[in-house]
């Protein structure tokens, strides 16, 4: 029964591990792997001994974990949004809001950058024009080339883009909560806030934790494009996450083997995050997923 699934897992999850072999060779794009020099653990040694590499890896690990952590902390937002949405009585208004908030999910990060550039660029950005035209400032603020609060602004873009989409499953889960519970609560005199706190939220929590665990896998999977389009010299120190660093080392820096070795670090980060989420699940619900 499960063999097709196992085959899929093998093909898509275990076969790619073959790629790790590149970290042991001095690989150059285009050449046959086995015609390049075998360098053994050189790239791994470099990760831990070369001063420049070590500082960079520590920096990008900090960025990766920091931004991932912020992502996890804010992963309750879609749930809250779904609950608030369900409290809107006017159906047409609710649908409109939901549609508007869901649309950004379908915009690629490249386009998001164009929109951000149109909004925030120093010369012609909408925001700076408003500030200047109203005499609030003489010179525009260069929002996109600022290293300040990059984690938060990146989080902001992420939430703007993902909130509506993330809420969809919660909205589905809401309909699954037994209406009799609400009726019983109403008879017992519970208000809307009480009902939300004692019925809706506990009803959504299992969904929340499943999604949380899945999103942790995705955080590292899809973690590059956004930072890639927004990176520049001024914010690079704080925006460069592990995925982007691997890309910058391998594709921009022509050092595939070292990049592969660093890429393996992702497994370490993923496992750390996974245990963290599992721990959260354990202390809040008393049951763990693993």
């Amino acid at each position: 029964m499960s063999s097709p699934l196992l085959i899929l897992v093998f093909v898509f999850s275990y076969m790619p591990l073959y790629g790790w072999i590149y970290s042991f060779y001095d690989y150059k794009a285009g050449r046959d792997l086995f015609s390049t020099d075998f360098v053994g653990l050189k790239n791994f040694k470099m990760m831990f001994t070369d001063h420049y590499a070590v500082t960079n890896i520590l920096r990008v690990m900090k960025n990766t974990l920091g931004m991932s952590f912020l992502g996890i902390v804010t992963s309750v937002f879609p749930m809250i949004f779904a609950i608030l949405l369900s409290e809107i009585r006017n159906l047409r208004f609710r649908k409109t809001i939901q549609t508007l908030v869901t649309i950004p999910n379908f915009i690629s990060w490249v386009l998001v950058y164009s929109i951000a550039y149109a909004m925030f660029s120093t010369n012609d950005g909408l925001l700076n024009r408003i500030l200047i035209n109203n005499g609030i400032r003489d010179e525009g603020i260069n929002f996109l080339a600022s290293g300040n609060h990059v984690w938060l602004t990146m989080l902001g873009y992420g939430i703007w883009k993902g909130l509506g989409w993330g809420a969809i499953i919660y909205i589905a889960a809401l309909t699954n909560i037994d209406a009799e519970q609400y009726e019983a609560a109403r008879i017992d005199g519970a208000g809307r806030l009480k009902m939300t706190w004692h019925i809706t939220i506990p009803g959504l929590l299992p969904t929340f934790f499943v999604l949380l665990l899945l999103s942790i896998g995705n955080l590292l999977n899809n973690g590059m494009e956004q930072y890639f389009v927004f990176q520049n010299a001024m914010n690079k120190d704080s925006i460069e996450v592990l995925d982007l660093y691997v890309y910058n080392q391998g594709m921009v820096g022509y050092d595939y083997s070292f990049a592969t070795a660093v890429g393996m670090l992702k497994s370490v980060v993923s496992v750390l995050l996974l245990f963290f989420a599992n721990f959260l699940s354990k202390i809040t619900r008393g049951e763990s997923v693993m």
């Binding site: 794009a29 010299a233 691997v246 921009v252 393996m264 693993m290």
Partner: protein
């Protein structure tokens, strides 16, 4: 049980996320040579139209080429060219294609290292194997082919590429940057510009004289971009020749100074290097509000659009300046003209081998013969003239004396640059997106003894008088244009000793990139620094970090190899 499955699923997810390089298929081209059936292949195929995919790293446009140039290509070779986007990710795209084991039909590389890598990976077709298909190439670019066969074939002795912008005759006419908004420069008194500080002062005055353009948008002294940055801020490469040195390519962290026929290689980070001076210039420009603050976030296209809209006062090269300096504006005395700086100016040597921008045909192309036909066309003098001056018989033609001459139509277009010229596009928009002209404009076609570019041709009798702007400039500098000015003032110029550069080794590419990571990031930070203290702090950090990673090793390696390249260049320059 369920727990196990979830665990397996999650673990699988974790593993998927790791950088998985695909093993790729080895290019099936080991014996692409053989003897192609040239005769039948070309006669049959030239009738039906074939679409070829092109990756041109120096190019800036993508999509299927349309406009007059594309029409000419189709007419001559039956080829439609589909350009892959390159922009600021061209190098990475090339890397990905290399790793996947096949390249698009035609590739224009940016440096010798990229060519060498592709040759080592057996990904290019040798021109030698298709000699019958490329007679023009062998007739007109033989020296370049020999250079590639001798030095860039991995010992195979075949030409897998050919240089572009082959320059066999010195240029004595034409304009070259830097360009300044000449009307405003004159308006503020046209003070001589001997130092970068002079330049800043004059740009400031110009900006004050015209703070906004006609649409009320803010005007900046200069507007730059980071699209082409590799190991340092590439704008420095364009600025260096105006300050008497030369940075060979985007990956080499050295400057070459030519003094009295002797060349000297030094680090771009050394004291008083053109690069460091340029960074300080940009920093001061930013402090004075002259530098477009969007420089670090915008793209090349954005900056060009700003120049075209009259929002930029100074440009290192012609990007967007001619779109602003229309004949109509020039006749009112408005527009960009070149600015002779007080520095010793470095001019490029003759380049019989061409520049490292290299045109190659992919070994995995399904239409190698067609691609060869295109290359053959591109390396004919007629095609080079067409690419440079427009379609033969329309904008130029061979006159009664057997010499090329511009037609009335050419001058009409200059008067009406916005009119649709061919294929739904204007003349300017229909030009070649390849950005890899086979011959430099000054190169002479041996058949008629005239050059490729029309600036070197005899003036047509019906050519309109020079614009007011140019007449002003000519009166001020006593020369027809920038190159004739430099030729007249030979004491202000220095010609580089060689026109060929070392091919970086694999180690040097990686080293350059590791140093470059530090250099380009800190360079931009220095430019945008808040005050001198921050500027100096960043500068010290950049230099000490670059030292630690090993910039001196790079400079030493390059110095040794450059000496060898000098000797080599002598062999190919007769």
């Amino acid at each position: 049980m369920i727990r196990r499955k979830v665990l397996a699923f999650l673990l699988a997810g974790v593993m998927l996320t790791t950088l998985a390089a695909c093993s790729g298929n080895a290019p099936n081209n080991a014996n692409s040579s053989g003897s192609p059936n040239a005769g039948t292949a070309s006669t049959n195929s030239s009738k039906d139209n074939v679409e070829l995919t092109v990756l041109s790293l120096p190019g800036n446009e993508s999509g299927v080429a349309t406009g007059w140039w594309a029409e000419e290509v189709k007419k001559a070779t039956g080829v439609t060219l589909n350009f892959l986007p390159t922009g600021d990710q061209g190098e990475q795209k090339l890397q990905a294609m290399m790793a996947s084991g096949s390249l698009p039909d035609i590739v224009v590389f940016k440096d010798y290292k990229q060519v060498q890598n592709a040759v080592d990976a057996n990904m290019l077709a040798a021109y030698d194997d298709y000699k019958e298909l490329v007679p023009n190439l062998y007739a007109n670019a033989a020296t370049s082919l020999k250079y590639y066969a001798d030095n860039l074939s991995g010992g195979k002795g075949k030409s897998y590429g050919v240089g572009t912008k082959i320059k066999t005759d010195p240029e004595t006419k034409g304009d070259s940057g830097p360009f300044i908004r000449y009307d405003l420069y004159k308006k503020v008194g046209a003070p001589p510009v001997n130092t970068l500080d002079d330049l800043l002062a004059v740009l400031k005055k110009m900006q004050d004289a015209e703070p906004t353009n006609a649409d009320g948008q803010k005007v900046y002294g200069l507007s730059i971009w980071k699209d082409w940055d590799q190991s340092y801020m590439t704008m420095g490469m364009f600025a260096a020749p105006y300050m008497g040195s030369k940075i060979p390519d985007e990956k080499s962290l050295v400057e070459i100074h030519n003094v009295g026929g002797e060349s000297k290689v030094e680090s771009i980070l050394s004291d008083d290097s053109a690069y460091m001076n340029f960074l300080h210039f940009l920093y001061q420009a930013n402090q004075m509000g002259l530098l477009d603050p969007d420089s670090i976030t915008q793209r090349f296209d954005d900056a060009v659009a700003k120049t075209t809209a009259g929002r930029v006062l100074f440009a290192l090269d012609g990007w967007g300046t001619s779109d602003f300096s229309t004949v109509e504006r020039q006749n009112q005395g408005i527009g960009f003209m070149p600015l002779p700086l007080g520095y010793t100016r470095t001019r490029t040597a003759l380049q019989p081998v061409g520049v490292p921008w290299t045109m190659s045909v992919s070994a995995s192309s399904k239409n190698i013969e067609k691609a060869m036909e295109f290359v053959n066309w591109n390396y004919s003098f007629d095609a080079a003239r067409t690419t440079e001056n427009g379609p033969k018989g329309v904008t130029w033609d061979i006159d009664a004396n057997g010499k090329p001459a511009l037609t009335q139509k050419y001058f009409d277009i200059q008067q009406h640059p916005d009119d649709v010229f061919a294929d739904g596009k204007t003349y300017a928009k229909g030009a070649s997106p390849l950005n890899a002209l086979a011959f430099w404009g000054s190169s002479i076609n041996p058949e008629d003894g005239a050059a490729v570019g029309n600036v070197f041709w005899d003036k047509s009798p019906y050519a309109p008088a020079d614009t007011k702007l140019r007449l002003d400039w000519q009166a001020d500098y006593g020369a027809y244009d920038m190159n004739s000015y430099l030729t007249k003032n030979a004491d202000k110029t220095q010609t580089e000793t060689v026109a060929t550069y070392p091919t970086l080794s694999d180690d040097m590419v990686v080293l350059s990139s590791r140093i470059g990571d530090v250099v380009k990031t800190n360079s931009w930070k220095m430019v945008l620094a808040k005050n001198d203290a921050e500027y100096n702090e960043l500068k010290d950090k950049m230099i000490s970090d670059a030292d630690k990673i090993g910039i001196n090793d790079f400079v030493k390696w390059y110095t040794d190899e450059y000496k060898k390249a000098e000797d080599l260049a002598a062999e190919y320059s007769e």
